[in-house]
């Protein structure tokens, strides 16, 4: 059901067991700490890491990530620095770049997504999530991703109906980012019951489904995976840890330790949820 081959790195990350997919805004609160934080997530069991390249108008983000973006921009994060950051990272986990289309479009000398994708491939990025790029506008980026063997992860919303879903799946590879509830990013205390419904609608789609928006605890991760998700995406709950550390002037190592602990909790939750799944009838599960 998808016309595009997934990159080996991302396909492998989802191959056995549920994937834990954390997000951080790159450069928040500064370049060096941010590298330590990403590495801590890898050490804590991340299977794929979404690296947010800060854009000045993050319309899909709630206050937590908006503030992180502001901190990162003020500390001098740019697309060029972002690529250096990725090249410098010492992690063995597939990396997905999450950003808004204007930054992708402007990079390099020619206008269009190709130079950005080429550079991303060079530094070891495996795919993209672009929240302001619906299937209708994804063509040029999809083409560049195919040329360089990268994935384009699409977001599926609770409002996405059957017809749109087909359009989305047509341009997607890697995994589907299943938005657990309407709205913008942000941690919440309960997992939306829209999740189960959304997963049921996606049952026939031949791509891993990672659920995000609002997951903040191991128990929630377990619930989502038990409901059938192939992965959990967690952003704001981790960014909160970075923000708190920054506000209290904590040393980088202390914050990194807490991130690693939180990552373990979330990964553990995902595994437990997987264990709680009632064995699926023949042929409907992966």
């Amino acid at each position: 059901m998808t016309g595009h081959r997934s990159s080996e790195a991302i396909a492998a990350a989802f191959a056995d067991g549920p994937a834990f997919v954390p997000y951080l805004a790159v450069g928040d609160p500064d370049y060096e700490s941010s590298q330590a934080y990403v590495e801590a997530l890898a050490a804590g069991g991340a299977d794929v890491i979404e690296l947010g390249l800060p854009f000045s108008e993050p319309i899909a983000e709630g206050p937590t990530i908006q503030n992180a973006v502001v901190r990162a921009l003020e500390a001098g994060m740019t697309p060029t620095r972002f690529f250096e950051f990725v090249a410098d990272l010492d992690v063995d986990v597939p990396l997905v770049c999450m950003t808004y289309y204007n930054l992708i479009y402007q990079y390099g000398d020619e206008q269009g997504p190709r130079p950005f994708v080429e550079r991303a491939a060079e530094v070891g990025i495996s795919g993209f999530v672009v929240p302001d790029l619906p299937a209708e506008e994804a063509g040029p980026l999809r083409e560049a991703c195919d040329e360089f063997g990268l994935d384009l992860v699409s977001i599926v919303a609770p409002t996405t109906g059957a017809e749109r879903l087909k359009k989305l799946v047509d341009v997607s590879s890697g995994y589907l980012y299943v938005q657990a509830r309407l709205g913008v990013t942000g941690a919440s205390s309960s997992v939306s019951d829209q999740t189960g419904e959304s997963l049921a609608r996606l049952a026939d789609v031949d791509l891993p489904k990672a659920v995000g928006f609002g997951i903040s605890s191991g128990e929630q991760a377990a619930t989502v995976v038990e409901a059938g998700a192939d992965g959990v995406i967690v952003g704001s709950a981790l960014v909160d840890i970075v923000a708190e550390g920054h506000a209290n002037d904590e040393p980088t190592e202390a914050v990194a330790d807490r991130l690693e602990t939180k990552a373990r909790e979330l990964k553990q939750g995902a595994l437990e949820g997987y264990g709680r799944r009632t064995p699926a009838p023949e042929g409907t599960s992966d």
Binding site: I59, E61, L73, T78, Y100, Y107, D132, E137, T159, T160
Partner: protein
């Protein structure tokens, strides 16, 4: 005007980019097209919004372009009875004498609410009602769009929430009161510089959260398709009337039409029915602020001149001309007038500029304030500071506008009195009255 006539005019207005289809037996149906204006336009929004945008496109096509259920007739009737249309095209006697050219004023300041914004707000709130939506949200810069939306929502009995940058709330207190008095909630936006750009982002966030029952009344010819085209259609009544009125009064077409451009809704409204008239120059006056240069260090453009100095990019749902840095980060804009203080501009305007059909020009803050005082003194019309830019341009370039020019008076300046007094006091404005009695506090 008969409803048949109205219907076909609506269709004609949309004719430049909407397409006609042969509906099965029922005559020609006009479709909304793909929302691309040359290289500009499109639909760059989160997936969560796309179904709502598809629903809106469908409603726009049915009700606005094809007058289903008599939408256009009701819209026109309410524009007349509630809004006060048609607005006059008034000859400005003293300016005409001063500049030795025939200056005509399209008096959108006389529309209910005091600005052209009501044309669009009424159209969209009514459309939301036809669509069965239960809640209205809007963003506002100068507060004019928020006020117009609050009025339209009260008029049509819909609950309404308006997002407004904190800085703009302070610059535009009278409009904040007007919104509240009309029963709308006003929600301050504190991110970024607290101006229109941030308010638009915040309203999009609300929409993404409440999309199922909420309609976002966007305030200008910006945003994802179908907004730029639909808002233009609602505003095109300005040039529809002006074209008839000027022919009536002068026996022919004008040599030029001058309108200020923030997002560009009064601009497109004033231009639309003249776009096909090759002899009519269309001049879009942007806010030149204090300088046309962008300070890359601070990321601030001390202007809002995206048509004159911006480059192509994607913001708030559309590909258009933007004020951005080399990386594609949107820079902060500036204008003495909140309503022009925006880093983007409508995609259709960007396209018409590329096609050499619209000429982008700009006027500095100082000249706009001079224009504000001049129109007030010489014609007895206190213009909005946005509108004052058009008069600043006319003053500096009156020998380039031809023998007959129409200036769109997009709004009245009551909302701007505090700002005008403060900004005047900070400068050496040659035609300013003595305001010293106000020093030390206006409120």
């Amino acid at each position: 005007m008969s409803s048949e006539g109205e219907r076909s005019e609506t269709s004609d207005r949309a004719g430049s980019d909407a397409t006609r289809e042969n509906g099965g037996g029922g005559g020609e149906r006009v479709s909304a097209g793909d929302g691309k204006f040359g290289r500009y336009g499109g639909q760059y929004v989160p997936e969560a919004l796309m179904p709502a945008i598809e629903e809106l496109t469908d409603a726009y096509e049915r009700y606005v372009l094809n007058n289903e259920d008599g939408f256009v007739d009701e819209f026109r009737r309410r524009l007349r009875d509630f809004g006060g249309r048609p607005t006059p095209l008034q000859r400005a006697d003293r300016l005409s004498e001063r500049y030795d050219t025939e200056v005509y004023l399209k008096r959108e300041d006389l529309l209910h609410g005091g600005a052209h914004k009501l044309n669009n707000a009424l159209g969209q709130v009514l459309l939301a009602k036809y669509m069965g939506k239960e809640r209205i949200i809007a963003e506002t810069g100068a507060g004019q769009h928020g006020t117009a939306t609050a009025m339209a929502a009260a008029h049509l009995g819909m609950p309404c929430e308006v997002y407004m940058g904190e800085r703009d709330i302070n610059r535009q207190r009278p409009n904040v009161f007007r919104m509240k008095i009309n029963g709308s909630e006003v929600t301050p936006v504190t991110t970024g510089r607290g101006t229109l750009k941030e308010a638009i982002s915040e309203t999009m966030r609300d929409w993404a959260t409440n999309v199922e029952d909420t309609h976002y009344v966007i305030g200008s010819v910006v945003g994802p398709h179908p907004f730029p085209q639909m808002v233009r259609d609602f505003q095109a009544v300005i040039s529809e009337e002006a074209r008839e009125q000027v022919i009536d009064q002068t026996g022919g077409l004008p040599d030029s039409v001058v309108a200020c451009a923030g997002g560009g809704s009064n601009t497109m409204g004033a231009f639309h029915n003249f776009v096909g008239d090759d002899g009519v120059d269309l001049l879009a006056v942007e806010a030149g602020g204090s300088s046309l240069a962008v300070d890359e260090e601070t990321g601030v453009a001390p202007n809002s001149a995206s048509l004159s100095t911006g480059s192509e990019g994607v913001l708030h749902g559309a590909r258009t001309k933007l004020l951005q840095d080399h990386d594609g980060q949107i820079v902060e804009s500036h204008s003495v007038s909140s309503g022009l203080d925006y880093a983007g501009v409508g995609p259709e305007l960007a396209h018409l500029v590329d096609e050499d059909r619209v000429t982008p020009v700009n006027v500095a803050d100082d000249a706009a304030i001079e224009g504000f005082h001049r129109l007030s003194q010489e014609e007895g019309i206190i213009p909005a500071l946005e509108t004052a830019h058009a008069f600043g341009y006319l003053h500096e370039h009156h020998d380039e506008v031809g023998d007959v020019t129409i200036v769109n008076v997009s709004g009245r300046g009551d909302k701007d009195l505090d700002t005008a007094i403060e900004e005047t006091a900070q400068r050496d404005i040659p035609n300013a009255p003595d305001m010293s009695m106000f020093e030390g506090g206006l409120r």
